[in-house]
């Protein structure tokens, strides 16, 4: 029997999963290169959303202009974040420091610090409350197909996710900078010894990852119709779970796991209270870590 409500739940879950996937792509890219979690990724997402909303409120330009502007903001945010929270920990170039876990893991806290400061500053400037996206620019119009309800935002997010994923694969496998990103991800010391400019590569990775994070932010803001300073936190955590389940540094793995998480949560809500469906996500994370310690798609040599 065709159950429209159940299929509708799958649609709901798929779109939530895509939101997680959009964030997870940038997250995983940066992790792959640095082998450290960038805790400020959720704030890049939030800053991208706010930048887009400010632009829309002021001039209401077409969507493509908003996205280009947000990409620029994301690039600057990524560059600034790297400069502030990551670069200072790479100033020692001797082999012991380069191999030091402590050095690398200190950036875990410095990125967390940056994320808290950015969030509090945004809260001070724009207020802690939700801000609406002007209604004309929202991507919340219903699109009825048979018994199923979609919204314009779901199609845009789907398109963006496909484009980002394909664009990133192109960048990684068809360009020189992609080659150096893969080299640094694979073996940072080795890459350095063969003459790759690792500093430049890391900066490029942050710029690319943050551009994706920022674009994800504005698209999701248009889809939900609002922005708020803590908007990056909850989906950021789910994206992190997807990244870990996918094997930490596999971008296709993270995307698949993100969509799987979204679907699992939606289907779980059919049987449990919404509060419990969160448990499903973390339950899957636990199961993955117990039975597949390297993640579902991890373990291969190539780390991006």
């Amino acid at each position: 029997m065709f159950d429209a409500f159940f299929v509708q739940q799958l649609v709901n879950g798929f779109s939530v999963g895509l939101v997680y996937a959009l964030i997870a792509i940038g997250f995983t890219l940066i992790f792959g290169v640095l082998n450290v979690v960038n805790f400020a990724h959720g704030e890049v997402y939030m800053v991208g959303a706010y930048a887009g909303v400010v632009l829309i409120t002021a001039w209401a330009p077409p969507l493509i202009a908003v996205v280009l502007f947000v990409m620029a903001v994301g690039a600057v945010a990524g560059f600034g974040l790297e400069r502030l929270a990551f670069k200072p920990f790479r100033r020692f170039q001797d082999e012991a420091s380069l191999k030091s876990k402590a050095m690398r893991e200190a950036t875990l806290l410095s990125s967390l610090a940056v994320s808290i400061i950015v969030r509090e500053v945004v809260e001070k400037v724009f207020g802690g409350a939700m801000r609406p996206v002007p209604f004309e620019s929202q991507l919340t119009d219903p699109v009825q197909i048979g018994e199923l309800s979609f919204s314009t935002g779901q199609f845009v997010i789907f398109g963006a996710a496909v484009a980002m994923f394909a664009g990133l694969q192109f960048l990684l496998y068809r360009t020189r900078i992609g080659l150096s990103i893969r080299a640094v991800a694979n073996n940072p010391l080795g890459a350095k010894y063969v003459g790759i400019d690792t500093d430049r590569t890391i900066i490029a990775t942050f710029v690319v990852g943050s551009v994706m994070g920022a674009v994800a932010g504005i698209l999701v803001a248009l889809y939900y119709g609002s922005v708020f300073p803590t908007m990056g936190f909850a989906p950021g955590v789910k994206a992190f779970v997807a990244m870990v389940m996918g094997g930490l540094s596999s971008i296709p793995g993270a995307v698949i796991c993100a969509i799987f998480l979204g679907l699992a949560e939606a289907v779980a809500t059919e049987f449990l209270a919404q509060g419990w469906s969160e448990m499903i996500a973390y339950g899957f994370l636990l199961l993955t870590l117990i039975f597949f310690p390297t993640g579902l798609f991890g373990g291969a040599r190539d780390r991006v």
Binding site: G127, P132, S226
Partner: protein, 377 residues
């Protein structure tokens, strides 16, 4: 010590002495009475704390100017609870240790208010929350008061309204916390007593902003109506997603959704929402008009129901202080609060039951029509 240092020290001593004696003159005439105010001033609930602070500051300034309490000045001491029960308890301990404080306003949520209430109950400091509506809050001790009608009053009111409009099968969506639980239990009992049926109860975790799965699940049961127990941001997200999912089930809500913010955020999606409230910012009543005008002049925003609750709570506290006079202490303030009767506030006439300390107010029925809250006659 050199001579010049001694001279300088002596001069400084004289200066301090002079300053002290100058300060002492008004201090003799003007006693300071402090009220503690604990509310979330940062974090996710900071917007509520902000409007409480606005309203309370305004109420105290008006009171000090009015000369209702000759010989004393009332000051407010704010502390940020971040909507965290642990913080709430720490603040309560701090307020209890402050000898100037005779009464406390706040906190925002039932959860934090009830955590802090344990401290106030032990130390004997009157606490008046503008919003804590959990049924057990005032039962903690004789020191707890509130200026908001509880769900025990509001739930049956809306249930009767919905049943009267022929809505027999109703689904409930509420936030998963102490307050949300009381929304559901009171409403459900009233609906079932009135011959209706609650088809499903859906709780969601605080912080969740995607209601599509819950709405889809609720729509499957095909209820006649949906009842929402949540705050304005969650409500706005839900209403937008309801429109987008093309779920056209009539929707009722708790008074907590009565806020201009809801319409700003949800836009046309909020049309048709029905709710009860004690405060209407466009009410023609002179007390309400005066309050709304001054609030707008000061803070460039229309006061929400939350702002109005805090304004009345502060004024009820101040009226009780004025009744006792400048010699007010914690015990006499409590007794005066318990006698509050027919207080003409902006959220309707308020009377505290001297025994249960539960307030009674008049509720109005509202519906959103064309982007405006309109009174339902």
């Amino acid at each position: 010590m050199t001579l010049s240092k001694t001279i300088r020290g002596a001069l400084a001593g004289v200066a301090v002495g002079a300053a002290l004696s100058m300060a002492a003159v008004p201090a003799l005439a003007q006693k300071t009475i402090a009220l503690g105010y604990q509310a979330p001033l940062t974090g996710e609930m900071s917007q509520y704390g902000e409007v409480f602070r606005n309203s309370a500051t305004m109420a105290v300034e008006q009171f000090n100017k009015s000369g209702k309490l000759p010989g004393a000045t009332v000051v407010l001491k704010f502390e940020d609870s971040k909507n965290d029960a642990k913080e709430g308890v720490n603040i309560a301990k701090k307020f209890v240790d402050d000898p100037e404080i005779v009464g406390v306003l706040g906190d925002f949520s039932s959860t934090v208010s009830m955590a802090a209430a344990q401290v106030y109950a032990q130390a004997g400091l009157p606490q008046l929350s503008q919003t804590a509506s959990h049924p057990d809050y005032v039962k903690i001790s004789e020191w707890q008061f509130r200026n908001i009608t509880t769900q025990a009053y509001e739930g049956p009111f809306v249930a009767k309204w919905a049943l009267g409009e022929g809505k027999k099968k109703i689904a409930v969506i509420a936030i998963q916390n102490d307050w949300g639980q009381s929304v559901v239990s009171n409403f459900k009992d009233a609906v079932e007593k009135g011959g209706g049926q609650v088809t499903s109860v859906e709780f969601y975790n605080p912080g969740n902003r995607d209601f599509r799965t819950i709405l889809t699940k609720v729509a499957r049961e095909k209820p006649d109506a949906i009842y929402l127990g949540m705050f304005d941001e969650d409500g706005a997200s839900l209403l937008q997603q309801r429109r987008q999912l093309n779920v056209q089930i009539p929707t009722y809500a708790t008074s907590s959704l009565y806020s201009p913010k809801l319409i700003t955020l949800a836009g046309p999606s909020s049309d048709g929402l029905k709710l009860s409230t004690t405060f209407a910012s466009d009410s023609p009543e002179p007390v309400v008009k005066a309050y709304v005008d001054e609030y707008q002049a000061r803070y460039k925003a229309v006061p929400t129901m939350f702002a109005a609750q805090a304004y009345d709570a502060t004024n009820i506290m101040l009226a009780a202080i004025a009744k006792v006079g400048p010699t007010v202490d914690r015990k006499s303030l409590r007794d005066a609060l318990a006698q509050t009767a027919g207080f003409p506030g902006v959220t309707g006439e308020t009377t505290f039951d001297p025994q249960t300390r539960e307030p009674t107010k008049t509720l109005a029925r509202m519906e959103i029509k064309g982007g405006q809250f309109a009174l339902v006659k």
